[in-house]
Amino acid sequence: MAHKLLIVDDETNIRMTLKQCFSSDEYELDIAVNGDEALAKLKANQYDLALLDIRMPGLTGMEVLEKVREESIDVDVIMMTAYGSVEKAVEAMKLGAVDFIGKPFTPAQIREIVENVLSRVDLIEEDLDGYNDNLQFAKKKIVEKDYKVGEEFLKKAVSMGVDKPEPHNLLGVIAEYKGQIERAQKHYRAALALDPTYTPARSNLERSAQYTYSRAKIDLGDNEVAKKEK
């Protein structure tokens, strides 16, 4: 069965990029050019996933997301953030967005993030197989704010992918959420020791080491997924 996607962006060129990225039988696309139209469509139809631009004139992506949650519309939302506005993304995650991606993105990156989120939904605890399943399940749990279970599955992911930096980065993120900065930094350093080029861990480490500590810009590493393909 084709997954139903709703693409919401006020910029024509981004809509065209996304249309091109998801023009296959696996997806059924619908488009909205602003927040109001998006909300109307989300109310009227059932979608598996909405790709929502944060910055739009009129009703912003954030406001759409808030309304979606208020009216408990059942849809997963991935936020798209413009160049240089990653802080907003963290706020969006708090409002229940399942993931976010920074613009610009490559077709491989956006496809991977969408595929991961869609498959995350179907993951059941008893049914996890291998490193990626465990990692995705842990992410799902983090988004659901179930950090304890998330942590448990990240540890499993660590043992299954001993050379992978991502679970360590996410363990750091959970530690930060719990207010354990030093432990978080240890995890970020561990991730960097495994892969010095893994930028989410680097930026998390730099950010958490700042004098004026802030959780803004916390990096879950979702933009990194497509790199592995190269």
């Binding site: 024509t12 060129n13 990029t17 990225c21 490559t106 077709p107 491989a108 990156q109 790199k227 190269k230």
Partner: protein, 152 residues
């Protein structure tokens, strides 16, 4: 080059630096071809010269800065083209792309033909509008001469 052949056109990720007459035209062509294009220019107004159907990303920033290149996800790029009107900027960006980020294909615009050798030494592919135009002028002139000779 191997990477380019393996991928579909729609999966190719191309960064164009400079949205002048050349950059904007090239970006529009590539986008129409189905590539995923990011174009970077300091001047937001310059993006108005992109074609209406341009389906890529625009970033208003200085493409010579490392942070900007990273925001543009240069590490994912299959191709980078430096088309600013400044030879020095082009060569610097091209070198960063090639050496630091190992972009598989890097092309720079070259204004001053006298610098051709430097680029060659740095192993950077160049396109020089000046040289190309000169050659084309020469071709047309030669052709006209032939026509005259034939007529005689």
């Amino acid at each position: 080059m191997k990477l380019l052949k393996k991928k579909n056109k729609s999966d190719e990720y191309i960064i164009v630096i400079g949205c002048g007459r050349l950059g904007s035209h090239l970006a529009s062509l590539l986008s129409r071809d189905g590539c995923s294009v990011v174009i970077i220019d300091k001047d937001e107004k310059s993006f108005s010269s992109l074609e209406q159907d341009f389906g890529g990303f625009t970033i208003e920033a200085d493409g010579i800065e490392d942070e900007v290149l990273r925001e543009a996800k240069i590490d994912q790029a299959d191709v980078l083209v430096a088309t600013t009107d400044d030879d020095n900027a082009n060569i610097m960006i091209a070198q960063i792309a090639k050496v630091v980020y190992k972009v598989p294909k890097v092309i720079a615009r070259l204004h001053d033909p006298n610098r051709y050798k430097i680029y060659q030494e740095l192993d950077i592919e160049t396109v020089s509008p000046t040289i190309l135009s000169a050659l084309e002028f020469q071709n047309i002139i030669a052709r006209d001469f032939e026509d005259i000779e034939e007529a005689n």
